[in-house]
Symmetry: C2
Subunit: 343 residues, 2 copies
Amino acid sequence: MVKKPATIKEIAKALNISISTVSRALHDHPSIGLVTKMRIKQLAKELNYEPNQTAIFFQKGKSYNIGVILPELSEAFFSTAVSGIEDTANKRNYTVLLAQSHDNEETERKLVAKMKNQRVDGMLISVTKNTSSYDHFEVFRKSNIPVVFFDRIPSLQNIHSVACNMETGTFEAVSFLLKRGHRVIGMINGPTTLYATGERREGYIQALIKNRLKFDPSLLVNCDLTEAGTIGAMQELLSNKRKPTAIVTFNDYVALFAIRYARSQDIAINEELTFVSYANLPLINYMDYVPVASVEQFPYLQGQKATDILIDLLNNPVKDDAKQAYYNITVESQLVINEKATI
Amino acid sequence: MVKKPATIKEIAKALNISISTVSRALHDHPSIGLVTKMRIKQLAKELNYEPNQTAIFFQKGKSYNIGVILPELSEAFFSTAVSGIEDTANKRNYTVLLAQSHDNEETERKLVAKMKNQRVDGMLISVTKNTSSYDHFEVFRKSNIPVVFFDRIPSLQNIHSVACNMETGTFEAVSFLLKRGHRVIGMINGPTTLYATGERREGYIQALIKNRLKFDPSLLVNCDLTEAGTIGAMQELLSNKRKPTAIVTFNDYVALFAIRYARSQDIAINEELTFVSYANLPLINYMDYVPVASVEQFPYLQGQKATDILIDLLNNPVKDDAKQAYYNITVESQLVINEKATI
DNA sequence: AAAAAGTGTGCAAACGTTTGTCTAAAATGA
DNA sequence: TCATTTTAGACAAACGTTTGCACACTTTTT
């Protein structure tokens, strides 16, 4: 009943030629005569021949698998990045093995072990919020499995990475607000431990400098990204001697919390107090009041680039470890005006 | 520099024993003496031996890959389901190949082809909203690749499926509202083409019957799940002779649209008009006004069950196609009271 | 006319593992 | 003590493919 899939061997036998000829013919190897090639391809089609991938993987000593470890698939940023990864990988004949760390370092460690013995050819990793030590990634180096970190990248030397430069977008965001006439602009930034927090700060300050304005540290408050933290930050900003007329928030979640709080204080959103945020998540489609603009981080693009780099690395393995060149790609963030919020 | 991973062969040679002995020893085969076994395991550990998965896959003629095709990863329902799938698959030594159809039938067809020649052992599929014909799935039957459909299942005979029974949850939801004293309960249901729409309707009616109330068809309106459609449905319900004091909405998105509209009409949410919805998405954490209760569909559990069934199917292949038994698992939905909304 | 180059194909090894069958030695039974 | 069973391990085939090398034949060059 169950007919086994056709093999190269069967084709060879049926045509009374050698296996190698069949293999070469199917790969359009130049040394095979046209007639034989046609006969072979013809029969292959008739028999519905499809190469046995497991055999090829084995033979080539590769799995054509790319492992991906990221914190949380349900975050829109990551699920979009995954789309970029998948599309690129599929296009280049690789397959994606996905796993979520759920922002748990322990899980991350386990996944690393799992991935390694699944024999992935390469890895794409976005580290956990809380990952403090990076030694568990060393096994990949030892096994000669290239790793490209994306978005959340560890502070290590000699790694490949793709990340988004937040400074540019922040600069644009603040410039945009300045152009709109705002002179007192607050910022609710993230925890100082995050690299991205520093970039936002820098962009903010640079935009002020460029416009010959003085940087007022009391207008820049850090927060832990929770709702409570955001409310605290808002209270601090709103009670400032110079009360801001616009606020840049670390991400859309913070924006949501901040806007909600502002409304509870009967502040007219984007009139009395204008908001600009980051990420541009689908979330804002469902908010009643949304930031007037968002700094886009291009997750799909980041996924694409990281995958491209990884596959290039796989196709051109370095012999000499010392001569290894490291890719550190930066995607520029970019301000996007939110049409829904035009008032 | 790059040291190749150790193989069974090397271990054999180093210990001057046969390959088969090493293989069996590592598998705790009873016919291997204790001392040899220990020696082998010892050396294997020293050499950091790890079985070459590609070789094993090839040898066993299996890929230990499970293909998953679903509409949209960024929908919380699916990303949660994927977690269930991954966890179960990993536990049982399978690997997950993920792909999104983005609710596009054409993409779905392409993915099917892709998956088949990636030589997956089995498939988990949640079909596209728009999939009208199911013949592209036939290739799996022909290649003897078992398929388990989940959540969105095609209306076909002789398939394996895991889905959530919406009737139970709907029954509970309406009963809950009745117990709270509501007597005029509206429902914004989905398009009649969806199976789940029928189940909701049935649950709604059954709850009324059970409470000796008459079913009033004018209180049950269908909609296309868009914001415009929802507003239309709301207008219809609110202008009804018997104006509802509570509304059950098809899902959280519809709930959001409906609540937003109600607020635009200055209706006090969950006082003047009470909402109950489905899904319980993270979305509602970010809504200012949320339904008082949601019908939970247990996506994680569905993913788990579907994967378990699939792997069972893989481990116990049927010889005789005619004798195939089909699994059709139903997960009961369940009402969950939303604490945030308690007023 | 002989040598060289080109063309088309076959042979066989290799990749790492599992597993059915075979054998030698040791243990058991009478 | 010899026959039988048990134990511990070896041998070799098989899985499907790719690829370096060899070979025969034909064509071109000298």
